[in-house]
Subunit: 217 residues, 2 copies
Amino acid sequence: MNQKEKNDFPKERILNEAEILFAQRGYHAVSIREITNAAQCNLAAVNYHFGNKENLYLEVFRARWMPRARRVIDCFDKTLASQDSLSPRAVIQALTKAFLEGPLSDEERQRHHLLMARELAQPTKALELVAEQIMGPFFQKLADKLRVFMPENLGEECLKLNILSVFAVVLYFNFARVAVTRITGREYDPDFKARLMEQIIQFSLKGLGGSEKGDLR
Amino acid sequence: MNQKEKNDFPKERILNEAEILFAQRGYHAVSIREITNAAQCNLAAVNYHFGNKENLYLEVFRARWMPRARRVIDCFDKTLASQDSLSPRAVIQALTKAFLEGPLSDEERQRHHLLMARELAQPTKALELVAEQIMGPFFQKLADKLRVFMPENLGEECLKLNILSVFAVVLYFNFARVAVTRITGREYDPDFKARLMEQIIQFSLKGLGGSEKGDLR
DNA sequence: GTCTATAGCAGGATAGAC
DNA sequence: GTCTATCCTGCTATAGAC
């Protein structure tokens, strides 16, 4: 059975619509009626397939969010592997690219980040899940790649804080689109996004290590 | 009438409890019954004093969030005024300090940032209000203070993006406490917060301009 | 697996006594 | 201004026919 057919089962349609609505308005603001209407199926289908509303929410993370995050990480890995030499610039660039362009469509990415922003503001079991299976391992991978470029005397904690700072910049320009648009007066069109990527890379790279060309050992 | 007496009116108590609960769990997850119970007053009091739930939420921003934001900005202004010379380091330091230490208690600050994080993820009229009256003017002020230190050929947009990047780092370490604690294994105790402040200042300063000592003209 | 029907409850809002 | 009592809507969840 191919993907298209599979996506036409009510269970799949419910997951799709639930994700969209939860991302847009949050868990409590969305009713299962709304979800099943959007998915064009019966109200009772949610309870039949997922038991209850909370478990549907978790399943959105298990069956949608996490696979998508893995695609983003794969993209990061591939971009990095295609470079002939590993450098901080290459790492940051691959990271920024995977997060801001990468394999996701604009809507997909916005949904993805909104769901995570909500979890960070108000953690549920979903964050537990994601932190354990996705964020933790990926962060470790980043640390391993960057460690060799940092000064020898730099502690492990300092390395972590530096990487978190890079994440901060990358994520902020996604989470806080409203604020960014308001301040700069610019919409997130391809032009501005290219501009943003350049800004993020430059800023992070400098923040990470000093000047751009190889101060990092 | 002094502040203490004033705070004992039901209207004030409702605002206090509403802010706490909205920050903790978000608008939709909190009922006015819960709020009035916490405020030890009658259910009907919300509708009497604020008309309806939505307007109570807005009033939390008008009567609590915004005045508090003004206190933070005042703190920033005073810290900066106490320096004998204006430098990027002084500005960033004052900014970080005002946001991470500043005049707010830990609980107050967390509430404050949570409310804003929710607004950024899902903007309502409250963000409109705050953007117009607080964020916009403050951002302008920051830009004015930093502009003179940036290279002459640096465009206005680039300046804005740089300042936003600094905000990104400052705010992330507040918004994403859960993630930071999980990754670093450290709680936000005074010790770690001092460590964070140093990290944020260093990273931002480098990101902003290159090396720490005066590369910025 | 999918539907209808409905139980059972919690929410926002208001009327009207005090 | 504050209270009680109540209306009405909309929610989750389930029972049971098909």
